[in-house]
Symmetry: C2
Amino acid sequence: MRMAMDKARQYGLGAVTVRNSTHFGIAGYYPLMAAREGMMGLTVTNARPAIAPTFSTEPMLGTNPIAFAAPSDMGHPFCFDGATSITQRGKIEVLARAEKPAPEGWVIDAEGNPLTDPDKILEDMGKATAALLPLGGTGELLAGYKGYDLATMVEILSAALCGGMFMKDLLGFAEDGSRRPYMLGHFFLAIDIEHFIPLEVSRRITGQIMRALQEARKAPGEARIYIAGEKEYEKEKQIRECGVPVNPNLRRELQIVRDELSISGYEVYF
Amino acid sequence: MRMAMDKARQYGLGAVTVRNSTHFGIAGYYPLMAAREGMMGLTVTNARPAIAPTFSTEPMLGTNPIAFAAPSDMGHPFCFDGATSITQRGKIEVLARAEKPAPEGWVIDAEGNPLTDPDKILEDMGKATAALLPLGGTGELLAGYKGYDLATMVEILSAALCGGMFMKDLLGFAEDGSRRPYMLGHFFLAIDIEHFIPLEVSRRITGQIMRALQEARKAPGEARIYIAGEKEYEKEKQIRECGVPVNPNLRRELQIVRDELSISGYEVYF
């Protein structure tokens, strides 16, 4: 991202692709680097197969997130960071730890039926007999093909500009069955706003868009309309003040790891 | 798009923004120009307010399509062109002409209840008492906020790089209530593949991604998995051979226009 931003500073735009990588952490981290320096940033990455295409039940595409940020004149930039599936593995893991079912409509089995038991979902995803549904859900009625198409767009941007691996080749196994790195691909784009219009004008327009959305008519029973990046901004402030919340099951896991490895100094935390 | 492609040919990337525009036709037309010349293309545009943000019932954001194309080694490029809402006005108009209801989950009224009568939808959208739902639907359960966020990303790219109009200012009315042009904004990006890897390698990777998706395990009862751009490619071939299908109500409308304006020479068509 830094290289893309350096190029953008000089030419207005910069793009960098990466191949043979691994999980790069929080996708939104990279466009936020751009937003902090007066640029818009866009980052996508492929991932191990998880999403079933429309009319399929086979996990073929990664959760393939799109992350985009733009500077605003508010306390935080606009920042969207979302998988092109409805949900992703991390949220299923959180439900498994909390012993709660997954909502119907997130995951299907090999016959296309809904799966809601989070432990079974995690087990079956490993065997490719469960798949995440693309944003928009199953079939064409609610435009699930758009989530599927966006996931494919991300797969293409992540592999077809860097000559990298994609889809089934990201499973972490070589042809002879031995383990190997995941070999993911990423795409980073930076747009230096000052090459288009003055940064302050752009900040104000993005801020006006954000404020207008916050002030839109509320649906009955709803108190507040959020902007992408707003919840995370507030959450970060809260966590920096109060610490990271840990549920009882995760706490127990951390205690086991701590005790088994005789790691000292964490007794006050969990 | 041509200007963005000329810049991309020279520098690897080119981006152009447009303000004070009107409906620019088929969004996918522009990235397809890039794909035909060995580039990837991305185009977005804002539009008159239609989508309600998550937790709102007010039409605030346009259908704000994302269009992306990449060259492949198949008969047609990968080409996604989709609104960030579940559906768009044109599909409601088609249903109105065909006298068919809209599926529940596409449109809500001012109280957040589903609307399915296409004539009422078209009338109420004009009065801002009906709104399209973002891709992912209402609330957060099936990640409707992602469609909402993607629509906002498009609004930002369409206005905050060109200093253009956005949201309510796109309704086609000046402050004194008089009609004025819509003043839409667009964003065009071209990526010249040869600046990254040889074009033939990229075409092959995109083609491999497309073929792997087509060959995925079918859901029960499904015969075929489509790739973005595939249905349109086949439809275009069919229409060039057999002509444009016209339903009886549209045909009647065309006949009325033809007869009222005494336009001759179309008797053989409708």
